[in-house]
């Protein structure tokens, strides 16, 4: 155990040098240096300041929409196939209707048709049909609901990304979580208020005519409010052009009305639709509807053929700017709500780093003094191992690019306290062996051998706790688990391998001397 081959010595020194090499960029202001790596310990949001937002998509309206379109489709197809239905209604997430019992077979065939009920995954169809006497209940399958959620999630994440990019935040991290959630991390952001405001709106824009009671409004009429005025509008359900056809929106200023406006530009298709509709409806009011509120309803005076337009609605400059951003970045398929937020201001983050490092230094010094007092020269060896341990933890964090959080710093300090455990185990064992065995080499050798299983057993239990924490925990707690796990592994190396190496050099020089620990 005390013999180290040249290869081993070389490997130990190599780890030592690598550790220091990757540690240095963390304490010296080196950047873009050819000699050193740019990798540094990645500070968590709680240390550098920033916002963590968990958004959830409310997919209910989307499922309702799908239910409605399915109901239209089914009724049309049933009529075409001469299948008689009565009392067609929707309840919760299902469609129900009564049928003629003698048509049951045809109906079953019809509802099993791949056009009516498409296969959407390897396991399932769009809906399932349950027959009960003369009533059939059509329910969407979990597969379909998940598909709707997945599509909404994919669309939403793009739009969330666009909106956040528009505000020019540095290095946002935007990823999906589960079926209907989006995780947004915004490092260094002081006040997430503006972003939260932008994420709260779906920004579904469309242009619809106000209804004239005498003109055909066959598709129906909505009664919509106005956000600023206390007026209600009767707006046709028929959509002339929607936000999808928008290619640009910029804030502007209208000198005639002396207020801020948003200028927009439509794509070719949108422009054509707009031109047709405006030509035929000169004199009517065109409502500009955003998220089911009428922003304004100007009168059409001329056919608008260029595809350029202006939205005015007594905006302040900031409101106009926000609206332009929302329109440019596209509409969300469904509303997003923030179900979890954790924001830390940069000042608090800095203070946390300072107090974290200060308590690390104090804890480290206390442990060093304690070990030195207890084990003298061997305490010194253990302290050198401990210092190397710290360096290795920091450099491993840098290489892996894992995030250091405030509990993470606590994890390092805890490691400092627990790391000496292996040394204590070894030294106490050596004491015992020295009582039985006069030969120093043999005594040390036996002690190291015997203590190995104990060290492994005890470290593995803590490692289990760290791994469970890593997989179950979130954010800051994950950071704690990472440093704890890295700490355990590097502790094993620094005490059992590096520490043993130091001790072996000392023992070989003092083979005959009386060693007291």
């Amino acid at each position: 155990m005390l013999y180290f081959s040249r290869f081993k010595v070389f490997s130990i020194l190599l780890v030592f040098i690598f550790g220091i090499y990757f540690f240095i960029p963390n304490i010296l202001p080196i950047s873009n240096n050819i000699l050193f790596s740019n990798k540094k310990v990645n500070l968590g949001l709680d240390l550098q300041g920033g916002s963590y937002l968990l958004l959830e998509i409310d997919s209910k309206p989307l499922i309702e929409q799908k239910l409605q379109s399915k109901s239209l489709e089914l009724r049309r197809e049933l009529r075409e196939k001469n299948l008689i239905y009565t009392n067609f209604r929707s309840e919760k997430d299902s469609l129900l209707f009564n049928f003629k019992l003698d048509q049951r077979n045809t109906l079953e065939q019809f509802l099993n048709d791949k056009v009516i009920n498409p296969i959407i995954s390897s396991t399932g169809r769009e809906f399932s049909a349950i027959y009960q006497s003369d009533i059939v209940t059509i329910t969407f399958t979990v597969d379909l609901l998940n598909l709707i959620k997945k599509n909404a999630l994919e669309q939403s994440i793009e739009i969330v990304r666009n909106r956040i990019d528009e505000l020019g935040t540095k290095e946002p991290n935007i990823i999906t979580r589960g079926l209907d959630r989006i995780l947004v991390e915004l490092p260094g952001l002081k006040d997430p208020g503006e972003i939260k405001k932008l994420l709260g709106k779906t920004a579904q824009l469309n242009f619809r005519f106000l209804s004239n009671s005498n003109i055909d409004s066959s598709l129906g009429v909505d009664i919509l409010n106005s956000p600023k005025k206390d007026i209600q509008y009767n707006v046709e359900k028929r959509i002339i052009v929607s936000g999808e056809n928008l290619i640009d929106a910029q804030p502007g200023f209208d000198q005639l009305t002396n207020s801020s406006v948003v200028n927009f530009k439509l794509d070719n298709l949108g422009a054509r639709k707009f031109a047709m509709a405006s030509k035929d409806n000169i004199g009517r009011n065109l409502a500009i509807v955003l998220d089911n509120e009428v922003i304004s309803a100007p009168v059409i005076r001329d056919a608008i053929i260029t595809g350029n337009g202006q939205i005015s609605g007594n905006f302040t400059a900031q409101e106009a700017n926000e609206l332009a951003i929302l329109l440019r970045s596209g509409a969300l398929p469904a509303p997003l709500s923030i179900i979890e937020e954790r924001t830390v201001g940069p000042d608090l983050g800095k203070e946390s780093v300072q107090s974290g490092i200060f308590s690390l230094v104090v804890g480290f010094l206390l442990v060093i003094m304690y070990m030195f007092y207890n084990y003298r020269i061997f305490g010194f060896f253990s302290n050198i191992s401990l210092l190397l341990n710290l360096i290795l933890i920091v450099s491993t964090l840098s290489i892996l690019g894992s995030t250091l959080t405030l509990p993470g710093i606590a994890g390092i300090i805890l490691t400092v306290g627990m790391a000496v455990d292996s040394n204590v185990l070894i030294y106490e064992r050596i004491k015992e062996e020295l009582k039985l065995e006069k030969n120093n080499l043999i005594a040390f050798d036996t002690a190291y051998k015997k203590v190995l299983t104990t060290i492994l057993d005890s470290n593995i239990t803590t490692l289990i706790a760290a791994i469970v924490l890593y997989f179950m925990g979130s954010g800051p707690v994950k950071g704690f688990a990472i440093t704890l796990a890295i700490g355990i592994i590097s502790t094993f190396f620094t005490t059992y391998v590096f520490g043993r190496f130091l001790v072996s050099i000392y023992i070989k020089k003092n083979k005959e001397a009386l060693i007291r620990i």
Partner: protein, 301 residues
């Protein structure tokens, strides 16, 4: 003082210690049901805002102003100094932008500039998930350790160590209920760490018991266990000592956010050390541990 040279009779009062532990165990469970835990937003849902003022202020005025916004119960307390406060608000606003409206309200009422240094908002759905995750993680960790010890030792050891661990976890929860420190995600992390540490302590004594069992299978089991505790005692106390030193440093200098976390760890180290000496080891007496280990200990270097 060299602890190793002295020999203490740890098992003499084993029944009394187990009885005392049992009392505390039951008291903790009672406390948990009667008084409950001071759950943080992580598990209860709601909003926490840490704010800093330009000038000193008092918590009652902040509370009054916050009560005007209809967000349920509000608690405000000083947080480190009389310019810093921590407000805990029962509910989460429906609007995505409600934190900002809280700030506007406060600045209007108190006529002062306020810096929101930390904001945590947890919706009820998320808090339920976090609670379930927290409970699962403790159970999973305990189960994995049970399996590991079973694998490395015998079932008697596995059972003994798990009894000690459950004892540690329940009494720690009892202490949190008693003193009313906030119970949040990081406390769960601390409890898992305590579980790891206490296990570590127990394993080291068990290792020694097993070693002695292999060496001599005629020694009285009570005496053997007592010898094992004594011969590892110096290590047990020294390691607990260094770990406590490091943790005390976090408690005093690590800032307000880490206070509860480091307190849980400090308490955990104490109870973990106690339980491995006075619970996990003596309990083996009653479990009829296997005596004749087949493999022979190799004493040659």
């Amino acid at each position: 003082m060299n602890l190793y040279d002295r020999k203490y009779n740890f098992l003499k009062y084993k029944k009394s210690f187990m009885f005392i532990s049992l009392i505390f165990f039951i008291l903790s469970i009672l406390l948990f049901y009667v008084k409950g835990l001071n759950l943080g937003v992580d598990f209860k849902g709601g909003t926490v805002i840490e704010m800093k003022f330009d000038q000193p202020n008092n918590s009652e005025e902040i509370r009054k102003s916050l009560l005007k916004i209809d967000l349920g119960d509000v608690k405000v307390k000083e947080f480190g100094s009389n310019k810093e406060f921590l407000a805990t608000i029962e509910q989460k606003g429906k609007n995505n932008d409600f934190v900002n409206s809280i700030k506007i309200q406060l600045e209007k009422d108190l006529n002062i500039k306020i810096d929101f240094r930390r904001v945590e908002v947890v919706g009820s759905k998320v808090s339920k998930e976090l609670t379930i995750d927290g409970i699962y993680s403790v159970i999973i960790a305990l189960t994995l350790m049970l399996i590991y010890i079973w694998f490395r030792f015998e079932w008697q050891f596995s059972l003994g160590s798990i009894i000690a661990l459950v004892h540690d976890v329940i009494i720690t929860i009892g202490v949190f209920s008693l003193i009313g420190y906030e119970f949040n995600l990081s406390i769960v992390a601390a409890i898992l760490t305590i579980v790891g540490y206490s296990m570590n302590d127990t394993v080291i004594i068990y290792d020694r018991i097993r070693e002695f069992l292999k060496k001599d299978d005629k020694q009285d089991i009570i005496e053997l266990i007592n010898d094992s505790i004594n011969s590892t005692l110096s290590r047990t106390l020294k390691t607990s000592g260094t770990t406590l030193l490091a943790l005390i440093s976090i408690y005093f200098f690590g800032g307000e956010i880490l206070k509860g976390f480091s307190f849980a760890l400090i308490w955990g180290i104490i109870i973990g050390t106690y339980s491995s000496i006075f619970i996990a080891s003596p309990i083996l007496v009653y479990f009829n541990v296997k005596r004749n280990w087949e493999e022979v200990v190799d004493n040659t270097p």
